[in-house]
């Protein structure tokens, strides 16, 4: 059974191919789905060692294991408060569905990642961030409470007061504390389905940092960065800042999507083609544009318009490397990392730069105040050795690697990057979670 079908079928331990967005590694395992908590509890009672699997939009091995709990069929809305914009829903609902239902009523997600094809459960478990992290924090900031199924089938409600330790461990906890069942999410009122976008070209990394600071009051900001340019142009970027528009229709224009029908041969993507792409992208961007009216979809989810775009990396798959450095050491560290990347010639199609706001209290949430850089690499020989080398730089500068993108970090890099890992680990033991929930990632990094 293939992965695309696997996500919404009713499965009771059937063997299936399971992979995440990076398509590396490719695994087979048993899938278990559920539509009621009764069925879920029965699955948990019968078998050991699961990991929840939502839309599989994580890049690495955090949602992979020999046994996975497929959450997509658990996708019902339970309640909506139109005054407060609070929706209570099951964890398998996707952000795409929430947008389709509530945008036309004037509500949008308070925090959204760069794809809308993720589940609410996945967004909480990775405590995802969006282009407004510096203003709005992580996804968990918009979560009022959630219900969690513990290893013994017990269901507990967690918020910032009640079962606080479970809340802090589960938001960002990569599915390792139990199954998130339902959640109450606070939406954000909007007047339009459009964003007023300002686009600014930045000549190099230093310029990009300055422009981020200049635009620190913007609600949304993110930059695309050319990782292969050298010399004076090293780190040249295009910064995009945005505000929710107050004019423009509240309905999204219908967009055609195209899809990559099959794996492209891996030679299609080499450092030459990436250089060309990056060059064109940079040149195509205006020097400066202010207040361009852009549909939400285009602004937040440019890649969602191309179905299966992960196939451009070929059969072997790819990985995304996302790291963050504390603000004080961000420039020095990123400057060094850009040097390493361009001299290794292992270019990345899409590299994204963003300035995060302060970190939250969750044990394993990724963001910290400072700059984050995310790059895609196709799986190739020498890649992991190269990334190990980058890990050392990240660790030396006091930064960390994003778990939901990771497929190869060492236990040491993990533990240095996430100092609360031992609190997390102790909690897992205390509740017996380490006897019931496990992913390929958790085994690798030793948590």
């Amino acid at each position: 059974m293939d992965h695309a079908r696997a996500v919404n079928i009713l499965a009771d331990g059937e063997k299936m191919n399971i992979e995440s967005w990076g398509r590396y590694p490719k695994t087979t395992g048993e899938g278990y789905s559920f539509e009621t908590v009764k069925t879920l509890a029965a699955h948990l009672e019968k078998n050991n060692m699961f990991i929840p699997y939502g839309m599989g939009r994580s890049y690495g091995d955090s949602a992979l294991n020999e046994k996975v709990i497929l959450t997509r069929r658990y996708d019902k809305l339970i309640q909506f408060d139109p005054e407060q914009g609070i929706v209570i829903c099951e964890s398998g609902v996707t952000l795409d569905e929430l947008i389709r239902i509530f945008l036309k009523k004037g509500w949008f997600l308070s925090v959204t990642p760069g794809t809308k094809f993720v589940t609410v459960g996945g967004a909480i478990a990775s405590d995802v961030h969006g282009k407004n992290h510096h203003k709005a924090g992580c996804f968990s900031n918009s979560v009022l409470w959630f219900d969690l199924m513990l290893p013994d089938g017990r269901i507990v409600r967690c918020d910032r007061e009640k079962n606080r330790d479970l809340f802090l461990a589960t938001a960002g906890g990569m599915g390792l504390t139990g199954i998130i069942l339902t959640a109450a999410i606070k939406l954000k009122p909007v007047k339009s389905a459009y964003i007023r976008e300002t686009v600014v070209r930045c000549n190099n990394l230093k310029d990009a940092f300055e422009k981020f600071e200049i635009h620190e009051d913007a609600t949304y900001s993110v930059a695309w960065i050319d990782c292969l340019s050298k010399g004076k142009a090293k780190g040249r970027s295009v910064l995009m800042a945005g505000e929710n528009a107050s004019t423009g229709a509240i309905d999204l224009p219908r967009k055609r999507t195209v899809s990559i029908p099959l794996d492209l041969p891996s030679f299609c993507l080499n450092s030459f083609s990436v250089k060309c792409f990056n060059h064109l992208y940079y040149m195509k961007s205006p020097q400066y544009t202010e207040n361009r009216l852009t549909p939400l979809d285009t602004f937040f989810y440019p890649l969602d318009a191309i179905g299966h775009w992960n196939r451009i990396y070929g059969k072997k798959g790819f990985t995304q490397y996302q790291m963050v450095l504390p603000k004080a050491s961000s420039f020095e560290g990123l400057d060094l990392i850009l040097d390493k990347i361009s001299s290794a010639g292992m270019g990345s199609f899409l590299a994204v730069l963003k300035l995060f706001g302060p970190q939250n209290d969750n044990y394993l949430s990724f963001p910290m105040e400072g700059y984050t850089l995310a790059l895609d690499f196709k799986i190739q020989s020498r890649l992991f050795a190269f990334l190990d080398h980058l890990d050392d730089i990240v660790t030396d500068y006091g930064g960390r690697i994003y778990l939901t993108k990771d497929v190869r970090m060492s236990p040491d890099t993990f533990k240095k990057g996430y100092p609360a890992w031992d609190t997390f680990s102790a909690l897992r033991q205390h509740y017996g979670m380490n006897q019931k929930f496990q992913s390929l990632q958790s085994k690798r990094i030793g948590v």
Partner: protein, 243 residues
């Protein structure tokens, strides 16, 4: 507009309910056996589409309850979609007549029993659409599922007779003939991906058939051609194939 889905826990039935709520702003009655699930689905559809959705208990094989079930509906439906069904297990049904009866009773007798009640009312009102989901399996018996196929074949024949009877009374009957659908019914079966529809695709085809007042539709469309070929194979050859 009011829509009654019989066997609403069926993946196809649920997708159809959602689509009609969205496109037709229909209020929906969701009738099936598993009430835990049905209640959740009703709430979900009501929030998504701001229509009224009512969960109702209905058992297709409990014939004696059918009249009362229908009488109790406060507002009578304008459209009925019959979705319940069981595939059963062919081998089991060969050996065990009680299982064979279960397959026939659910897919055929149950359908007949409730549809007669509804047809009587629609006929009186001179209004309504009945959409019955049968199967291409009913078009030619194959060794792998001919008992289910026989029940579906009977259902198709029944629906065509009903259409003939009600056409003169302003009531329209649609026969839906699906090929493979990726639902809990076919869970665990290794279906050819290119020939297998999603429940949402089937719902779209059903909606189109409703709008265009079609009599018989295949879903996905190519099953019409596949079945033309399969039905064209001479019996002398067909009987030797392992299908």
């Amino acid at each position: 507009m009011n829509l009654l889905i019989l066997g609403a826990n069926s993946d196809v039935g649920y997708a159809t309910a959602r689509l009609f709520a969205e496109r037709e702003r229909a209020n929906v009655y969701l009738a099936s056996r598993n009430m835990d699930l049905l209640e959740k689905k009703a709430t979900d559809i009501a929030i998504r589409h701001q229509i009224k959705a009512t969960p109702l208990f209905f058992d297709a094989t409990d014939y004696d309850t059918h009249q009362l079930f229908y009488t109790n509906l406060e507002i009578k439906p304008d459209i009925v979609v019959l979705c319940f069904g069981i595939l059963g297990n062919q081998e089991d049904a060969q050996k065990n007549v009680s299982h064979a009866r279960e397959v026939i009773d659910t897919n055929f007798t149950g359908a007949l029993s409730i549809l007669e009640v509804i047809a009587e009312d629609f006929e009186k009102r001179g209004h309504g659409v009945i959409i019955g989901i049968s199967s291409v399996a009913g078009l030619r018996g194959r060794q792998s599922n001919y008992i289910y196929g026989a029940a579906k074949g009977a259902l198709s024949t029944y629906l065509s007779g009903l259409r003939n009877r009600l056409a003169k009374r302003g009531v329209h009957v649609v026969t839906v003939l699906p090929g493979f659908i990726n639902t809990k019914m076919t869970d665990g079966m290794d279906l050819p991906e290119k020939l297998t529809a999603t429940p949402d695709q089937v719902a779209l085809d059903i909606h189109k058939a409703f709008q265009k007042k079609k009599n018989i539709i295949y879903t996905r469309w190519f099953w019409k051609w596949i079945m033309l070929i399969i039905r064209g194979i001479p019996e002398t050859i067909f009987k030797r194939l392992s299908l």
